[in-house]
């Protein structure tokens, strides 16, 4: 089993939903559906916003910068929260990390 990525490593990577996962918003909740297992996973509004930011950003670090501006928190704090969020989704098989495309 490969070791968990450090925050620093994670921030440099791109997080994306695998092909077998889709998500939709339900007003105040975001639901991710694992098409392989048929299981639904609910995210609160903050989690839903984090997921959107990850999808729209080239790296986890970029997503953290977007969110820090929105939530008025320090970049360090948001980076920590976002990496914890990514680890949770990684554990559930709902995101994948990959090297960002060269710009």
């Amino acid at each position: 089993m490969s070791p968990e990525p450090t925050n620093a490593a994670m921030l440099a990577e791109k997080a994306r939903l695998p092909d077998y996962a889709v998500y939709r918003t339900f007003v105040k909740e975001t639901v991710i559906l694992n098409l392989q297992t048929g299981k639904y996973h609910g995210l609160n509004p903050t989690g839903g916003r984090m997921l959107e930011a990850l999808e729209r950003s080239s790296t986890v670090g970029d997503a953290a910068e977007r969110l820090a501006g929105e939530y008025g928190k320090s970049l360090e704090e948001i980076q920590g929260d976002l990496c914890d969020f990514c680890r949770d989704l990684l554990e559930r098989g709902l995101i994948e990390l990959e090297s960002p495309e060269p710009s």
Binding site: F26, E29, Y40
Partner: protein, 313 residues
Amino acid sequence: MARHYLFGLQLDSSMPILAGRTSEASDGARKATLDQTTSSALARSWRPREALSMMERRAPGGRLIMAVEAHPELGYRVAAPRFGSHVISRDGSQIHSALPSVPEWRWQRLLFAQVLPLAATLQGIELFHANAVALGGRAIGFVAAAGTGKTSVGVHLVSRGATLLTDDVMALEASAAGVLVHPGPWLAGVHATELKAIEREGRGCPGEVLGRSGKLYLSIPTLDHPLPLAALYFLERRGDVDRLQILESRPPDPQLLLSSSFIWYLKSPDFLARHLDVCSRVAQSVSVSRVLIPASVGAGAVAAAIERHAAGE
């Protein structure tokens, strides 16, 4: 051959069925054909050893009530002793039916409860296990476990002036106009006690009585066009409440919506993703409420309360 419109399908049928007719032919419509055949011809066309069992319902003693099988090329077979056997093509566009010698309304119970809903699902329509009526120009839906009384509530509303949209199976389609409810068949089964209750309120029977099998089966004309879904009521019979309560779910609980699927045995990614998509659209555009019903409150009172709530009173 007659052309009908129900569950979002333009259905050309070689047999008369209890559903609204249409003379229109729409190029963009989802089309299906329904043809009668013999049991032996249908059996010859099916290869049971290559089929997978999708669903089986049995009575407590083991007697088969209904079975659905899937074949990778031939499609689906839905069979229920005394109600007929039907093979539906993989794309939901062709249905071949071997029918028992029983009154039409009886074999059509299976057609409307399982066969056409499956065909509609295969053609891209999402289905909820729910009823719907048109009230004040809007579609109002009711979701409830079997035996809670959603048909009774719907029939009471029809007797009070609403128009039936569908009983038991609600066909939904996300569109630019919101989530549309397509009309269903002209058939609803209700307990005789509910018709007596309607009579006691001074209202007439909302449809033509076709026959009895446990419940009374009525032919009730439906609306002939889809309507946007405006409100969805989840009915719950509760022993722990002493008065009827309508609780608006703001925001709607995703679990309530996601658990309302009708064709639960189709689990391919496409069907699952579409169900999620439609539920998300419902959550964003439809008022959702839970109706907590004590044992002492009948369907008539529930219908009256929902009518007032839907009117914003």
